[in-house]
């Protein structure tokens, strides 16, 4: 009886873990593939992403060009692999900008409170009130369209979300007695912010960063699709998709390949993000 119950409990726990860790594993695997391809694009890609070849224009998938060629004869697989690099770099920088900017703003607002809090949070709400793409377009229109500004624009889009999370987490930490104890041993504000508060608010922010990463990939693709991100001939899933749009009837692979790449990449990051969120969520722990 007891042994049975124990076995059932073990089985349930195993199944539960399998589901949880299985998804995280699948996500991790997808992410690893994308990151590997991005890091070693020169080695992994069978062709150069830039070389034109009029003889091989608009070929369907075949033994030489596994995923076919585009309207100027470039290898689609190679371009998709190099595009992963741009997506990853843009997402990394953008999430970095959002995470650092948002964390600083959120912690400072919560810690100092009063009018500083009020001013910073109203500013964040102002940013929040714009639809993401619109805000990015406005920023890029005023900063100039290039990939660096695209990273910055996407990062700025992320700042309000991270700042709210950081502010809420800081407000929780500020009520803790160890902050008072730190003051009681004469710790300065700067040191309290860095040593006492920052490490205690990092967990939710890092989980959020993993989720934001997938969103950043999508935003980069959207901006490139609109011609505001990576500029041709630089390959990006967004601008590849835009090209493919015109050839949907003759050469559907031109749209399908970057679309699928985007889908798998975003799926991978989302699964990792969700897995991390569950792993750090105290309610999910048994």
């Amino acid at each position: 009886m007891t042994a049975n119950a124990a076995r059932a409990g073990r089985a349930r726990r195993t199944r539960f873990n399998l589901r949880r860790w299985g998804l995280l594993l699948a996500g991790g695997l997808l992410t690893a593939i994308v990151v590997f391809a991005a890091l070693f694009a020169e080695v992994v890609a069978p062709f150069s992403p830039y070389d034109l070849d009029v003889d091989t224009m608009l070929q369907g998938p075949n033994a030489v060009h596994w995923l076919g060629t585009d309207e100027v004869g470039r290898d689609v697989l190679s371009r998709a692999i190099f595009a992963a690099r741009i997506s990853i770099v843009v997402a990394l920088v953008a999430v970095g900008v959002g995470l650092i900017g948002g964390t600083v703003i959120g912690i400072v607002a919560a810690y100092f409170g009063g009018w500083i809090d009020l001013a910073l949070m109203r500013l964040m709400e102002l940013l929040f009130s714009f639809p993401a793409i619109l805000l990015a377009v406005i920023l890029l229109a005023s900063l100039g369209t290039n990939i660096l500004n695209a990273m910055l624009a996407i990062g700025i889009i992320f700042i309000p979300g991270f700042s709210r999370l950081a502010r809420a987490a800081t407000n929780g930490v500020l009520r803790q007695q160890y902050i008072e104890a730190a003051r009681a041993i004469g710790m300065s504000d700067a040191r309290i912010l860095l040593r006492e508060i920052l490490p205690n608010v990092m967990t939710p922010l890092l989980v959020e960063a993993a989720v934001a990463f997938a969103y950043a990939v999508l935003l980069e693709s959207a901006l490139s699709f609109l011609g505001l991100g990576a500029q041709p001939p630089e390959p990006s899933w967004g601008n590849m998709l835009n090209t493919g749009r015109g050839f949907m009837a003759q050469a559907p692979w031109l749209g399908i390949v970057p679309g699928m790449a985007m889908f798998l990449c975003v799926l991978g990051f989302n699964l990792v993000g969700d897995g991390l969120r569950d792993a750090f969520d105290p309610h999910m722990r048994d």
Binding site: Q176, Q177, Y178, E180, A181, A182, R183, A184, I185, G186, M187, S188, R191, R195, E196, P199, N200
Partner: protein
């Protein structure tokens, strides 16, 4: 005087002297006087108890000494001197230099007072890094010595652990070790034993006494537990609704409590003898600080109130060194409690 208060010294000022302190808080319901006419001394090597119910202003007094009062609170009158030098005149940076170096604070709940993501040695060594700019490694090594000094078993291994791996008593020892780091002149312990079970309580109190004996530290012990006062304190201040109602040597206060509040407090404390009998509680509630009565603040709960209680009494001498704020000491004691229809209520 010296005989009455053995730690009193004529050649130097008290470590902590609070003079006519008044602390006010801005609230939505007006200005609240949370501490009023507070006078308190702690001499070197003396353990002074500050006892009172929740909301009586004892923690606010400690925060005022540390300069860590909430934003809405301010010192409206009076002063606080540390070894003869006024603390209240220092600016923020100077006060920060005093905290943790010359005044240490031991909070009530040690687990919540330790940062959960930092190792014990990092935290216990923190005062050295803040006030002495000591390198990390050296501070951690000193932390191990401090942990040994507060009798933590296996300090080398334990120092590398995180707060949640410690028991309540060990956490409190770690907090005390942190407080001792720079050998402060004054140690303020805010209910240091409340969160601990009784055997561990006794160990922590013994440790405080040991610190006093070896370093001559002046200790201000805030508590609501008369047992703790009886066990370690030399002198006691009884606080009620923001004011000290009675103060004197611990032994005298226990033997001859003069203020009806102190008497009630002593009766409300279970002892071996009284456990079988009825345990008395004090009827009524502590008045909120924004509507204090104009007379004696204990009057509406006092079983012995009479006409004079509509005016606030001053501290009157019970015996040398021992004073209480009660008219009973001035007038010949009435035979019984004042007639109920002539009560001096707080609507006065």
């Amino acid at each position: 005087m010296a005989a009455i208060r053995p730690h009193r010294r004529d050649d130097r000022p008290p470590t902590l002297a609070i003079r006519d302190l008044r602390v006010e808080i801005e609230t939505r319901r007006g200005r609240a006087r949370v501490v009023e006419d507070m006078n308190l001394d702690v001499w070197p090597g003396e353990i002074v108890g500050l006892i009172g119910e929740s909301g009586s202003g004892k923690t606010m007094t400690a925060l005022a000494v540390l300069g860590l009062m909430p934003r809405q609170a301010g010192i409206a009158a009076g002063g606080i001197d540390l070894a003869g030098r006024p603390l209240t005149e220092l600016d923020d940076a100077e006060r920060r230099a005093v905290r943790g170096d010359r005044i240490a604070y031991i909070p009530q709940d040690a687990l919540r007072a330790l940062n959960p993501v930092l190792r014990i040695d990092t935290q216990v060594g923190e005062p050295y890094r803040i006030h002495r700019a000591m390198p990390w490694k050296q501070a951690a090594a000193r932390a191990v010595e401090l942990l040994r000094a507060v009798h933590l078993a296996q300090p080398e291994q334990r120092a590398r652990e995180y707060p949640h791996q410690f028991s309540g008593g060990m956490q409190q020892r770690a907090m005390i070790a942190m407080g001792l780091a720079l050998e402060p002149e004054l140690l303020i312990a805010d209910e240091p034993t409340t969160a601990l079970d009784v055997t561990v309580q006794a160990q922590v109190l013994k440790l405080l006494r040991e610190i006093r004996d070896t370093h001559g530290t002046a200790i201000l012990l805030i508590t609501h537990d008369l047992g703790v006062i009886a066990e370690v304190c030399d002198w006691v201040y009884v606080m009620y609704a923001g004011a000290v109602l009675e103060q004197g040597p611990v032994r005298r206060i226990f033997e001859r409590p003069a203020h009806p509040y102190t008497q009630a407090l002593l009766r409300a404390t279970p002892t071996v003898r009284s456990v079988q009998g009825e345990l008395l509680s004090i009827p009524g509630q502590i008045p909120p600080p924004y509507e204090l009565p104009s007379g004696c603040r204990f009057a509406d709960r006092c079983p012995r109130r009479f006409e004079r209680c509509v005016r606030e009494p001053a501290h009157l001498e019970v015996e040398p060194g021992h004073t209480a704020r009660c008219w009973l000491l001035a007038a010949p004691a009435p035979l019984a409690a004042g007639p109920p229809e002539r009560r001096a209520g707080r609507d006065a």
